[in-house]
């Protein structure tokens, strides 16, 4: 009797689990797995966006490796990665400072630092396209007003440095988010370590170096991983402000992929580039995960 009830309960439990998971899984399959599988399929064809698809094997991937534009895109995206590293570091510094109970108005500063993340990406990009105007942008106007006209900056210069200007927009948006995540990690560090350090006469820098940083190492690595992911997928800023130009000098994976698809009617090539982006992200995640696992085993 008891076994029958237990197996019935188990069956009921299984049915409930499946029922609850079915719809989310279906949505995931429909909006994630299926498009991803379709993307990979299209990358092996010469589909123009209309009409039939013809299988062409690895020709799209060969074209990407041959035409040099993939290297150009990687080079452009590296600017976003450099800015991302500065962003994570800056977020950490801000989090450490705003975690101090002696800072007056720290809640206000936390809120204002986080606010840019709440704004819509396209709206931010439009705003910066005005801010970056050489003649009328606020910073350059201010520099001219105080007699420093020669210091006025050509934010959108048509050279490679424009990628850094675009990367700075992402830094402005995401530093607050990173800071909030760091703050959460900092607040999970037990106070007794700091009290013990105070008793030993440790300075602020020593406390940060020997207590804070080792304690938030995992959070730091996760944010770096997310930052790499975000930098590789940079889109709003180059699309809205420069359209990836001039001459592809500010193209990222996504803007270049859009160009292949809609300007050159080559959805196959566009899909191949998107698949290469996915592979690159998986590679970065794999490397980061490998480092984390190895460190986890070492500390165990």
């Amino acid at each position: 009797m008891r076994n029958r009830f237990t197996s019935t309960q188990k069956r009921e439990k299984t049915v409930v689990i499946i029922a609850f998971l079915a719809i989310p899984f279906l949505l995931l399959a429909l909006f994630s797995f299926y498009p991803a599988a379709k993307l990979v399929q299209i990358s092996f064809t010469n589909w123009s966006g209309l009409g039939a698809m013809e299988f062409i094997g690895l020709k799209n991937y060969q074209e990407l490796l041959r035409n040099g534009e993939l290297l150009q895109v990687l080079f452009n995206v590296s600017a976003y990665i450099v800015v991302m590293l500065i962003q994570v570091f800056l977020a950490l510094v801000l989090a450490i400072i705003l975690n101090q109970s002696s800072i007056k108005g720290r809640n206000f500063f936390r809120s204002w630092t986080f606010l840019p993340y709440m704004l819509n990406g396209v709206a931010v990009a439009f705003m910066f396209s005005i801010m970056y105007d050489y003649q009328r942008g606020p910073l350059n106007v201010l520099l001219r007003l105080i007699g420093l006209e020669q210091c006025a900056i050509q934010w959108i210069s048509g050279s490679y440095m424009t990628n850094y200007s675009l990367g700075l927009i992402a830094m402005w948006r995401y530093t607050g988010l990173n800071m909030v995540i760091f703050l959460g990690a900092l607040q999970s560090i037990s106070n007794m370590y700091y009290e013990a350090a105070n008793l030993d006469g440790a300075s602020f820098i020593q406390k940060v170096r020997y207590i804070t940083l080792p304690s938030i190492q995992t959070t730091f690595e996760i944010l770096l991983l997310l930052g790499f992911n975000g930098a590789l997928q940079a889109y709003f800023e180059p699309f809205v402000i420069t359209k990836g130009g001039p001459g592809g000098i500010t193209d990222t994976f996504i803007t270049k992929s859009l160009k292949y698809a809609f300007d050159f009617q080559n959805f196959g090539l566009a899909s191949a580039l998107a698949v290469m982006l996915v592979l690159l992200i998986l590679l970065v995640m794999g490397v980061c995960k490998g480092i984390l696992l190895r460190k986890g085993r070492q500390s165990a």
Partner: protein
């Protein structure tokens, strides 16, 4: 008696005509979606136009939808078979054999090549008409007369040397001679990708077919691609374009023209009237002249319209398309030149433009082979223009794209 019978017959015929048209009007019903690229007036002037149509045909609904990225959006919708009933037709991306797959024939509307400019653009491989463009623009240089007055320029230039002199005078007066909106890339089309300088200067209607046959994209053909590109580069090096070229954009251009900070813009005769109607440029300041040295005035079509093959209400969609084209109604609302051959548009600047007495030539349709070569070679001519204007090594750009052109032709077997 005979007169009475004749009068009776005439009255009967007349009444039956009314009855038929009334019956036809009553037969129209349903709901259609009409898509437009003019998002700025979709909710106002174009909705008013749709409402007027609905008032004439009770029981019908016409929903106006504005879309911004026309090519991207329309191509995606076509691929997904979700086209609006009265759709924009991307003739630059579709081949004539594609027309029948996505659009309904319009031959029952009774139009011929004598009725509209660019009629042949919308005719498919099977000889049927699938799309018409309601509006077009004459390619020209728009100029703000006020800036010419400030610089003391008394007449518009008729040769490239005179244009150079005019630009110099404008520069000396502190006015930017020519706008490019470089960052947005499409406003650069007059200098290369639009082909109207090449065809306008040479008068050669076969230019595009000859280009397809050419081994090089850029060569020393008189009035060829390299010729027009070099004019642009020469202007850029002399400072006749915006000073911070890479940052110049469309939004700033409008403001600068209105503030008399920029004098000219080379594209089409649509620009001046648009500034007059939407931005308050005084009508008397709106001027236009042919590109100096041009032998013909080229006219380019704007967006084409067709009726989607999957529409549930084909009669209603066709009736609305007819309504758009009737008497140049849609073009009049947009304040652009209409393609109706029996209507002469009266827009600011046009009278001056046509006073030069140049013959008018319809821009030839871009051959499918040319589109294939450019797509295969991943060559965006606007992007090439941007690179060429900024580079310190122009020959490297020419060589790069000539190589791409040759490789693409080889891959396509052309």
């Amino acid at each position: 008696m005979k007169r009475f019978l004749l009068l009776l017959m005439v009255c009967t015929l007349t009444l039956s005509m009314f009855a038929v048209s009334a019956a036809s009007a009553q037969e129209l019903s349903g709901k259609i979606v009409w898509v437009t690229n003019r998002t700025d007036i979709a909710d106002t002037l174009l909705t008013d136009m749709a409402n007027d149509f609905m008032a004439l045909h009770p029981g019908t609904t016409v929903e106006v939808e504005g879309i911004k990225d026309v090519e991207q959006t329309m191509l995606t919708r076509m691929a997904a078979n979700e086209m609006p009933d009265v759709s924009l037709m991307i003739t630059s991306k579709l081949t004539k054999s594609d027309f029948a797959n996505y659009f309904l024939p319009l031959d029952d509307l009774g139009y011929t090549a004598d009725d509209f400019y660019f009629y042949d653009y919308g005719v498919g491989d099977d000889g049927k008409l699938y799309g018409i463009t309601p509006d077009m623009y004459t390619n020209c240089v728009f100029y703000n007369r006020a800036t010419f007055e400030i610089a003391g320029i008394e007449s518009v230039p008729r040769t490239l040397e005179e244009l150079d002199a005019v630009c110099q005078k404008l520069l000396e007066a502190g006015i930017i001679p020519m706008a490019t909106s470089f960052r947005d890339s499409w406003p650069l089309r007059g200098w290369l990708s639009g082909y109207y300088t090449q065809i306008g200067m040479s008068g050669n209607a076969d230019f595009l077919n000859e280009l397809v046959q050419s081994d090089l994209l850029f060569d020393d053909t008189e009035f060829g691609n390299l010729y027009t590109l070099n004019i642009a580069r020469d202007f850029a090096l002399k400072g006749y374009f915006e000073p911070e070229l890479a940052a110049a954009n469309w939004d700033n251009q409008r403001r600068d023209v209105l503030n008399n900070d920029i004098a000219m813009f080379y594209d089409g005769a649509w620009y001046g009237p648009q500034l007059v109607s939407t931005s308050g440029l005084p009508v008397e300041d709106c001027g236009a002249f042919p590109f100096p040295g041009a032998k013909v005035l080229t006219v380019s079509p704007n967006w084409f319209y067709g009726v989607a093959k999957n529409t549930k209400y084909p009669e209603l969609a066709k009736a609305f398309l007819q309504y758009m084209l009737e008497d140049g109604r849609y073009a009049t609302i947009l304040e652009v030149e209409c393609t109706n051959k029996d209507i002469l548009s009266d827009l600011p600047g046009l009278e001056e433009l046509y006073s030069f007495g140049l013959p008018v030539m319809e821009m030839p349709n871009v051959p499918a082979e040319l589109i294939d070569i450019l797509n295969k070679g991943l060559i965006s001519l606007d992007s090439v223009t941007q690179e060429y204007l900024l580079t310190s090594d122009p020959q490297s750009i020419i060589d790069k794209y000539n190589d791409k052109w040759q490789q693409a032709k080889e891959d396509l077997g052309l």
